[in-house]
């Protein structure tokens, strides 16, 4: 499988990358780890006459935990997420999720920025970032701006990022409390049939705050306020979990594909959410 020919660039600064994007317009695309883009190029489903490799841009690297604020560079790999003791303290859900993405070799190359910016409904980090209330920093010809993860995803492969912009960092508040990312997949390395991200806090034996997001059950990740509200003030007992499952079911919109028919996906979504709530509660 040989992709179409392209010109290759490895800029060392964001400014250089941005000016390459401006010069080549629609013919240019940035690449992070390449593990979504390269397979598409090999199949010739993506043609990128000017390929801008972001690997040499130092500003896109690094994990910073500053008090209660966590900031992750777009080029941080899934492997680095797994290895980071800072992240394990500040947002342990990320390690739990990253370990369920692809396989070791792919995690060495695949990046957190690529995972969210690609807008693939099958990717795991978009839902987790919605669950965490993350903000995405974008840089473009007109400067920088931030977009909330909960407003970023518009449709499959369509996001609020414009073609001239580069995702630089992901920022979110550290989370102390119960957490879980439960993913059902057909085999290691597969995308989710359904997956659930749950964050919650406990006060005096009941749930004080909750945030719930679902993966690969719509064109975009689904942050379900109704499901989280069903847990508020409860002890996350089976009745509360059933209400959260029903509320979540009203927010998702799965389609039939080779991972199963709609009814099956709704069933799996419920099971993953129920398991995720139970595990998060046990850790709260």
């Amino acid at each position: 499988m040989i992709p179409a020919a392209f010109e290759y660039y490895r800029p060392e600064s964001l400014q250089d990358a941005l000016s390459l994007l401006q010069t080549h317009g629609d013919d240019a695309r940035v690449m992070a780890g390449g593990h979504s883009l390269i397979p598409m190029m090999k199949l010739r489903m993506a043609e990128v006459p000017h390929l801008i490799d972001l690997q040499a841009i130092a500003d896109l690297r690094g994990i910073r935990v500053d008090g209660d604020t966590v900031s992750i560079g777009a080029m941080v790999t899934q492997h680095e997420v797994i290895e980071s003791t800072d992240l394990l303290r500040a947002a342990p859900i990320l390690r739990e999720a990253a370990l369920q993405i692809a396989d070791p070799q792919v995690r060495y190359m695949g990046t957190i920025g690529g995972n969210v910016a690609n807008g693939d409904p099958g990717n795991d980090m978009p839902g987790i970032m919605q669950c965490l209330g993350a903000e995405f920093s974008l840089i473009g010809p007109d400067g920088t701006r931030t977009v909330a993860a909960r407003n970023f995803f518009e449709a499959a492969y369509m996001t609020a990022r414009t073609d001239e912009e580069i995702l630089t960092r992901i920022t979110f508040p550290a989370h102390a409390g119960g957490f879980a990312y439960e993913k059902q997949k057909r085999k290691i390395g597969d995308y989710a049939t359904a997956a659930a991200a749950v964050l919650l806090t406990k006060e005096g034996g009941t749930c004080a705050t909750a945030s719930i997001a679902m993966t690969n059950l719509s064109d975009v990740p689904v942050w379900s306020e109704a499901a989280a509200a069903a847990l508020d003030g409860t002890a996350c007992d089976s009745g509360a979990i059933a209400k959260a499952m029903a509320a979540m079911d009203g927010d998702i919109d799965p389609g039939e594909d080779n991972r199963g028919p709609v009814a099956f996906k709704r069933h799996v979504a419920g099971i993953t959410l129920s398991r995720a709530i139970t595990r998060a509660w046990s850790r709260a």
């Binding site: 499988m1 040989i2 992709p3 179409a4 020919a5 392209f6 010109e7 290759y8 490895r10 390449g34 593990h35 390269i38 397979p39 190029m41 090999k42 390929l51 490799d53 690997q55 492997h79 692809a102 396989d103 070791p104 070799q105 792919v106 060495y108 190359m109 290691i188 390395g189």
Partner: protein, 164 residues
């Protein structure tokens, strides 16, 4: 055709300079330009791991890395791990424990396993199964591969202790 670019790679400790199109995949640069045929082309879709090499300290599938991306990198293939006269502990363990049948996946398996044991010298069986999940074998059913990696880990740890 795009124009070729100068690529410098350090492969198994040797500096290699060559001209390649940016779109060429690292696996083909290794196999067809440098005649390093240990890493195999299995699925060519980043699933099977037969093309696994170590690039700048990471296990990667060289079918999903462009030559241009690898420019400047240090790469280790199975040829840099052991030789017929001097097998690596892992290679010997695969032989002893029947960790291969047809052998097609073995270079990728062993290249990945060297990195796995470097990061985690005392893995549990579960660690090995999880850490080798990016490498597929169609013959052995994995039992003997896992056994081989665990045996090599024990031997390497014992050798390290004896040396200390």
């Amino acid at each position: 055709m795009s124009k070729k670019m100068q690529i410098t790679l350090t492969v198994n400790g040797e500096t290699q300079e060559l001209l390649a199109e940016p779109r060429e995949l690292l696996i083909y640069v290794l196999r067809e330009r440098l005649n390093i045929t240990g890493p195999h082309v299995g699925c060519e879709t980043s699933h099977c791991g037969a093309c696994t090499v170590t690039m700048d300290g990471k296990s990667v599938k060289s079918c999903t890395v462009f030559a241009a991306q690898a420019n400047g990198a240090e790469i280790t293939t199975i040829e840099g791990i052991g030789s017929p006269d001097s097998l690596h502990v892992l290679q010997n363990a695969f032989r002893e424990h029947h960790g291969l049948q047809c052998g097609f996946c073995t270079p990728g398996m062993i290249t990945r396993a060297t990195k796995l044991l470097e990061d985690n010298p005392n893995p549990t069986e579960e660690d090995v199964r999880f850490g080798m999940a990016g490498n597929l074998c169609r013959c052995t059913g994995y039992q003997n591969i896992v056994k081989s990696v665990l045996a090599a880990a024990t031997e390497l740890s014992a050798a390290k202790e004896a040396a200390e």
